[in-house]
Symmetry: C2
Subunit: 214 residues, 2 copies
């Protein structure tokens, strides 16, 4: 039984746009940009297809809005979670992984559209090129900061480590989204503990210890 569509129901602009972004995120996560039709998204929202295009002028604008909104939301959450602490990069990464583990649909959205966006003609091509550069830079800075605090082996190249960590996260996410799913957080924790074992000559300042369970 599909939810009835209340035709012509007028909603405030912001609210409707939120609905649309949520529905579009689901659809793009399942079938990517090319595999998703505007009619598909419109149906999920309970609105006509031209009604959808009233809020986002075309398909490209829609997917970009989805990706950017989700990115902003995540940044805010992570900033907030560690507002007063001084987490090690390892703690920060595990928190990110555990956050992701609670949001498979979001992970899937980025896994699917990132691969699709390798095509230079893809509407999110530039978005993902910049996104990966940005995340790599942020991660390298955190690693370098931990090196200065003696928490990470100083012999390592921050940018190289950042590249590797991102690869592990992306790759584990893909296998986690498959059947049977791998235990993403357990594998990531094991990886991080092996990786950071060398440089742990100082206790985390304001953070908690990395625990083996959870």
């Amino acid at each position: 039984m599909v939810a009835e569509r209340i035709e012509g129901l007028r909603l405030p602009r912001t609210q409707r746009r939120q609905q649309i972004l949520a529905a579009a995120a689901q659809a793009f996560a399942e079938t990517g940009f090319h595999g998703t039709s505007l009619a598909d998204v419109a149906t999920r929202v309970g609105v006509s297809q031209p009604g959808l295009l009233h809020h986002y002028p075309n398909k490209q604008a829609l997917i970009l809005a989805v990706l950017e909104e989700r990115d902003d939301e995540d940044s805010r959450y992570l900033d907030e979670t560690f507002r007063d602490g001084d987490p090690t990069v390892v703690e920060w990464l595990m928190a990110l992984c555990e956050l992701n583990a609670r949001r498979p649909e979001l992970v899937r959205l980025y896994t699917v559209t990132a691969a699709e966006s390798l095509d230079p003609a893809h509407p999110a091509h530039e978005f993902f090129q910049h996104r990966y550069q940005r995340i790599r830079r942020i991660m390298a800075e955190r690693i370098a900061a931990d090196q200065r605090k003696g928490r990470v082996d100083r012999a390592l190249d921050p940018e190289h480590v950042a590249t590797e960590v991102m690869a592990v996260m992306d790759g584990l996410q893909l296998q986690w989204l498959m059947r049977p799913p791998v235990d993403m957080c357990a594998r990531f924790r094991a990886y991080l503990e092996r990786w950071s074992a060398g440089g742990e000559d100082a206790a985390p300042a304001g953070g908690r210890r990395l625990s083996a369970d959870a």
Copy 2:
């Protein structure tokens, strides 16, 4: 200047099918299953769209044929490369990475379609579910074999290591396919050397040493 289409030119079945698989592999690598049209592939081959469908009855059969053929080809190559040696799992993995580094279009085909295939309705969904299970099993067996030979730390769980190694490869491939590309083989070698350092208490029997250059 686009290559002229010689209309109606009759080619032997096998040869034409090879052409089609090659063109389809390119197209699917660039835009995935949903983003590729049969007309697109047909044009690349220099054949009409119904002419294409004469050789593969529908789009799903085409992409499955592409993926399976490429997998077979790779298996043959890897078996052949190490026919007489007894490579360590690390040597075997580096050879695989270096092979991939020479075939970006093939890597892209698998990166793009694997993510797309997370959708249970995708024509290659089952193919990739099985593929990942199979590769994980093969890799775990090689790791276990190396453990018995004292080449890899016996404390490690082969299946867990296999999962992690596959994640690193997949993740590095994605970043390698982006701009600017990361140095996939260098990052993979650094990862493997850190990973295998613990268990190297025996010299590889018939294999060569892992070198820092290449």
